[in-house]
């Protein structure tokens, strides 16, 4: 479970996130929506321990990210919005590094590296430097790295950006499968169709506040039944 309680974050006097609270239960795919600069990435960076929290508390499966960062981080698999990871490493060196960080035994990592790299079509590029990869391939190597240790909580910051249709489909299938096993998938996106297609629950954030939190049917009920998600999103964030 991801539990965010009354979290606030300020950047040189400007409040990026204010008193944000939300809970994501196990077995759910949670969509995190909002316009550019709404506070999505800031929230995600606080959940993953990249940004320190000024007020409030975040726990991942019972571990406080501030009090027990290593325990909490071991349970998270994070795909950042920028895939500029250790570009001078070769694909295989990067995956091996990640597997060492998350203590994945050699025999298991061999199977998983082969499985994920083949699923995303990057297996034959593993001996090349990440620097030479396209944006989509970089995204795929990062996602493969994240999945290597099979974390309970996936946190994905705009994970589908740059992926080809086949890889995008594979990832969406994996997300569904992961949630079905009782795990959490928390992801931010701008693609509203993906939210409609995949999410069990949705939060819409604007100017650092949660404007809506609930499941898809609640969202449709709250607004006019015939409205599509695009209209709902625009209505909620029009005060931008």
């Amino acid at each position: 479970m991801i539990d965010i309680q009354q979290v606030t974050k300020e950047f040189s006097g400007k409040t990026a996130v204010k008193n944000l609270s939300l809970t994501v239960e196990d077995g759910k795919i949670f969509g995190f929506l909002g316009p550019n600069g709404a506070g999505k990435s800031t929230t995600i960076k606080m959940i993953t321990g990249i940004l320190p929290i000024e007020q409030g508390k975040i726990t991942i499966n019972g571990f406080d990210i501030t009090e027990h960062p290593l325990e909490a981080k071991k349970r998270i698999g994070y795909v950042p919005d920028r895939s500029d990871v250790f570009l001078r490493l070769k694909g295989i060196e990067y995956l091996n590094f990640i597997a060492d960080v998350y203590d994945v035994p050699t025999d298991i990592r061999k199977k998983r590296i082969e499985y994920y790299a083949k699923s995303f079509g990057i297996y034959e590029s593993l001996n090349d430097h990440i620097l030479t990869y396209s944006h989509g391939m970089r995204q795929k190597i990062v996602i493969s790295g994240v999945l290597l240790h099979e974390p309970e909580v996936w946190i994905l910051d705009e994970p589908l950006t740059g992926l080809d249709p086949k890889s995008s489909y594979t990832l969406k299938e994996m997300m569904r499968e992961h949630a079905n096993k009782g795990n959490i998938v928390f992801f931010s996106t701008h693609v509203l169709e993906v939210v409609e297609q995949l999410c069990d629950e949705v939060a819409i954030i604007n100017n650092g506040h949660i404007e809506f939190l609930g499941n898809m049917s609640e969202m449709k009920q709250q607004f006019q039944e015939d409205d599509n998600l695009e209209k709902v999103f625009l209505e909620l964030t029009q005060n931008e």
Binding site: I50, L70, E71, F86, L89
Partner: protein, 553 residues
């Protein structure tokens, strides 16, 4: 033309803008400027010595125009050497090159834009060497205002021809090279070339005792080999024209040669634009394309094995340093500059100076062991203090620093992997210095072993201290790796702190009478260094606590 001008202005503005640069970087630039003042005075006097020496010998025979000829020819060669690296870097290796390719510009317009910054930087060399040379010549020859006006015009146009010729040759060469495969390797070669150039210049300078002597030697050479010099000027027609213009400025011939010089330069510029239009894009397009290698599954499987996190993080650091051309040249090559210069000083100080092999050998025998080990320790501090591996530990990660933060690795592990990387690279410096000391200076084994042991502790302290400083004030917002080293005060700061701290210890022990003998001195030094290393660790731990998670915000 207006559009080209706008492009040039934008590129220059982006390169020289102080926006986004930290205060410490800005202070760094200010310091560089302040340091440049005494340096330029030194250059002025050195050139005055050379030109003055030459003038006194050549003027009676009416041969003083050779001084200007020589000045313009050497300037031409120096400017070509300086241009090669900056043209390659700006035209082909800059990260922003692709963003210009998609703009609706002709190849020659983008080439002009990319030329602006390397061309402007040529004026630093031009101002440092040619300007004082021309002023000194004017002073010795007692020339009038017209000389200085012509000199100013010629000074302004001097960089054009070497730059334009180098750029045409580079563009022609790049047209045929498969750059996409060798981009990184090319960068490393450019870095090594600069390194060899610095060492070469040093060897040449070492071969002469003083600048006045050098001037007189050169003058003798020219008198003997007039024919040869004339042949050389036929290869550099503008140097000939420039020299005649300035030796005889008031005559019609002087004016005519000036106009002729300007016409040649203008023609070269037109040729440059034509070459740019035809050649530039051919070398630059497809630069970012990857190369397809044969896939070897067995090789991949062999690489998959479990390792300790500290070790694998250290491996990652070393790989990044060795594989990033800028890091390789600035850290590995740079760390070799000092020891190699040390070898050059010893081997080429042929006149039996303080650092020649013979005097070092006798110094080892004469000097008392206590002072000898203290002196060697001081030397080691200086050699390791200017090593950039530790002071770039954190900054090297740039915007990808955040990757360390979401992974379940202790902050101490990440930082220690960086300290170990700096330590291992400094070890290279130590091994070269150690080898030279053993082979050439006949240092006794006992002293050598003690020195090496102590150097390892000093190495550890400087690695920890440099990393701490970089963690305290890192530069993570760079777009080009060179910004990690350029204009930062941290290098000088680290050296000052280390020299002050170690210097005080060494100075204290040097002056106390109760301390005598090799063993006692080295025991006390070792104890002091271990204590110092402990203090450094405490400070590093504190800085990790306060800065590790907040530096990227």
């Amino acid at each position: 033309m207006n559009k080209t001008w706008k492009l040039v202005r934008t590129i220059v503005k982006m390169q020289f803008s102080l926006a986004g640069k930290s205060t410490s970087e800005q202070i760094g630039y200010a310091f560089l400027f302040i340091f440049a003042i005494p340096f330029s005075i030194f250059i002025f006097y050195a050139i005055d010595g050379i030109v003055g020496g030459l003038y006194n010998i050549l003027e009676p025979a009416g041969n003083e125009s050779f001084i200007l000829g020589l000045l313009f020819i050497s300037m031409f060669v120096v400017l070509i050497l300086v241009s090669v690296g900056s043209i390659l870097s700006s035209f082909y290796f800059a990260e922003d090159i692709e963003s210009f390719l998609s703009l609706p510009y002709h190849p020659f317009q983008i080439m002009l834009g990319k030329s602006a910054v390397p061309f402007i930087t040529l004026y630093v060399t031009n101002a440092a060497v040619l300007a004082p040379g021309l002023i000194v010549f004017g002073m010795h020859s007692g020339s009038g205002v017209l000389y200085y006006i012509y000199a100013l015009i010629l000074w302004t146009v001097t960089p054009v021809l070497p730059f334009v010729l180098t750029a045409i040759i580079v563009m022609y060469g790049m047209r045929f090279l498969n750059l996409s495969k060798n981009k990184d390797r090319m960068k490393i070669f450019a870095g090594l070339f600069t390194f060899i150039f610095i060492i070469g210049i040093n060897i040449v300078l070492r071969m002469n005792n003083s600048s006045t002597d050098a001037g007189e030697d050169l003058a003798c050479l020219i008198e003997e080999q007039n024919g040869l010099l004339n042949t050389i000027t036929t290869f550099f027609p503008t140097a000939y024209l420039h020299s005649i213009t300035l030796t005889d400025p008031v005559s019609a011939r002087g004016f005519l040669f000036l106009v002729l010089s300007l016409i040649i330069i203008a023609c070269a510029f037109v040729l440059y634009l034509t070459a740019g239009q035809k050649l530039y894009f051919k070398g630059v397009l497809g630069l970012s394309g990857g190369s397809k290698k044969k896939f070897d599954e067995e090789k991949i499987t062999k690489k998959i094995k479990q390792s300790n996190v500290l070790f694998i993080s250290w491996v990652r650091e070393m790989r990044t340093i060795f594989r990033t051309p800028t890091f390789f040249t600035q850290i590995i090559v740079q760390s070799l500059v000092f020891p190699v210069l040390f070898i050059v000083v010893i081997l080429f100080d042929s006149n039996g100076g303080d650092f020649s092999i013979s005097s070092l050998g006798s110094m080892v025998e004469e000097i008392e062991p206590k002072r000898f080990i203290l002196a060697m320790t001081g030397f080691t501090v200086f050699a390791l203090g200017i090593n950039p591996a530790s002071i770039s530990s954190i900054s090297r990660d740039g915007k990808s620093w955040f990757n360390h933060l979401y992974m379940p690795i202790k902050a101490e592990t990440v930082i220690m992997s960086k300290v170990w990387a700096a330590f291992c690279i400094n070890l290279l410096t130590l091994l070269v210095i150690g080898a030279v000391a053993f082979i050439f200076a006949n240092i006794p084994i006992g002293i050598g072993v003690i020195w090496f042991g102590m150097s390892l502790i000093i190495n550890w302290i400087t690695s920890v201290a440099g990393t701490t400083l970089d963690l305290y004030t890192p530069n993570l917002q760079w777009t080009d790796e060179r910004e990690v080293f350029k204009g930062r005060l941290i290098g000088i700061l680290a050296l000052i702190i280390e020299v002050v701290v170690f210097g005080s210890i060494i100075l204290f022990l040097w002056n106390v009478d109760w301390l005598e003998g090799l063993w006692m001195t080295s025991s006390i030094l070792t104890a002091a260094f271990i204590l110092l290393s402990f203090v450094c660790h405490l400070i590093l731990k504190k800085v990790i606590r306060t800065h590790y998670y907040s530096i990227h915000q």
